[in-house]
Amino acid sequence: MKAVCWMGKSKLETLNVPDPQILNPHDAIIKITRTAICGSDLHLFDGFIPTMEAGDILGHEFMGVVEEVGSGVTNLKQGDRVVVPFTIACGNCQFCKKKIWAACDNTNPNAHLMEAAYGYSGSGLFGYSHMMGGYAGGQAQYARVPFANVGPLKIDSDLPDEKVLFLSDIFPTGYMAAENAQIQEGDTVAVWGCGPVGQFAIASAFMLGAGQVIAIDRLPERLELARSMGAVSVDFSHEDTSVLTALKDLTGGIGPDSCIDAVGLESHSSDLQGVYDKVKNALLLETDRPSVLRQAIQAVRKGGTLSIPGVYGGMLDKVPFGAAFGKGITMKMGQTNMHTYMKPLLERIEKGQIDPSYIISHRISLDEAPAMYEVWRDKKENVTKIVIDPWLDKAA
């Protein structure tokens, strides 16, 4: 089959590799019909996530048709249409039983690597480094899905792939970000980063009762999408715009009730701190560039909530923890507990409350994917979301 392989930092290749096989009783093999490139895939492309190795198959947002199931899978059969969550969960450990699916104890075969880095291991993820399981990803024509008795969401209706594909990660991730923001009716919510997760966080914040949502980014096409969902946009690339001042102006001087950092470890800053972080990254004194996190801690109102769906990987420098403490803020974060949100969000799509395909800007083939990672990284061609048809025969 064809698959997008990580061959080193900033180096991807679409290669022919063997088809996946059933290896465990609860495995399923999925013939992938649609897959996507995630903003977090750029952290891999740019070499920020350790334990990526040459030959790793990328991709964690995919859906398809069940081709084959292992002996322990009784809830799925050949021909079923499914969306696959990017986190792999066993359903039986104490964390799954508490619905903290992303903390599953039993799905990371390389748990000891993550224990060394983070103290304890979270669940395995598709296509996201050896530390996080080393599972082959879904930017391919087929994928092996472990614990298929627990994860994949069956799509019984005839909704097109593009409307349900984002249940694999970014829609639940944006929704959980809004839920983690502990929004009360009428609250003001500020969202940094209007990429796909930010867009779904904005839409979800309104669903959960926000009175005002403020969208912060520097790319006009993203800010326009945010405005189309009802948000007020703040373009931080304008020389005369200070985000902190804007947030005070828009909240009567008290700051947003909740802040959502949908950017994560590769944030961009036009300030001196942006240069500072890049220098420290280069000297290996810091692994992440947390300028949004710093700003969000500063911006959130007293007793407010900071929700962080943006990915952080390692060590952060100059985080204003005194401000966090001084204002008594709550911070909630982490990988998405996918399995909790997929079904209720599918129901919202079925009822017509949201059509997540509004963020798609590009539809490509697997062969075109390596070049499109660069477009995605550099935010060229007004890119907002790239979807791959793995069976489309179109050369790069």
């Binding site: 698959a3 059933i22 465990n24 009783p25 292992g70 066993c90 039993n106 080393g134």
Partner: protein, 212 residues
């Protein structure tokens, strides 16, 4: 030098796998030259008796312990173990020293290529939280030997930790998670070396149920 000649015998230690004594936390034993210990624990969502039964089924051990290819029962409390490390076959005899159904098993080797002893304790965790399983294992091995094995193969201490992890996964889900055998692109020489360093080249035990 007495340590190097003294056979491991965990049963003679007063504390065994116990983590607390009279309300005080007991740290795990420190390694000495010639003898190393590892203590590890897991909360498992299963009944203590079922877990005891799974552990006590010695001939099924190759399903969940790394590099153990065969265990043959030679008596009520005795058994013969075969381990395969790459092209090296290691064999030893073992006996069970203590056997308390649903609570505890202690064992030691009685002869052969490997000298080790161990104890596993099953205790009900706080209400509704399953069973706390604590494992203490002791090996007769020099620190140099340990360092060498860490470089060339699975460090035996890590092996014990992984075995309890496999046991938990098997008990909770009926399988052991794996990626061996999945597709990938060319790894190159560095990729192969790192795969070994990550422990990905140690064969993952099959679990009790085979894939279809």
């Amino acid at each position: 030098m007495s340590l190097l000649t003294k056979k491991p015998d965990l049963e003679k230690r007063t504390r065994g796998a116990t983590v607390t004594l009279d309300g005080r936390y007991l740290p795990p034993p420190e390694d000495k030259d010639g003898k190393v210990w590892v203590r590890t624990s897991a909360i498992i969502q299963a009944d203590a008796h079922d877990l005891y039964t799974l552990w006590r089924d010695l001939e099924a051990v190759p399903h969940w312990q790394e590099q153990i290819t065969r265990v043959i029962k030679t008596g009520d409390r005795t058994s013969h173990w075969v381990m395969q490390k790459d092209d090296k076959t290691i064999e030893w005899d073992a006996e069970i020293l203590a056997d308390e159904p649903g609570k505890r098993i202690a064992w030691r080797s009685t002869g052969g290529d490997l000298e080790q002893a161990g104890e596993v304790v099953f205790e009900p965790a706080s209400t509704g939280r399953g069973t706390m399983v604590t494992l203490l294992q002791e090996f007769k091995q020099s620190k140099i030997g340990l360092a060498w094995e860490s470089l060339t193969d699975r460090n035996p201490k890590q092996g014990v930790i992984e075995n309890l992890r496999h046991f938990k996964a098997l008990a909770e889900t009926g399988e052991i998670p794996r990626t061996q055998g999945q597709p990938h692109g060319p790894r190159g020489t560095i990729g192969d070396v790192k795969s070994s360093a990550y422990g990905e080249t140690v064969p993952v035990p099959a679990g009790t149920r085979r894939a279809s």
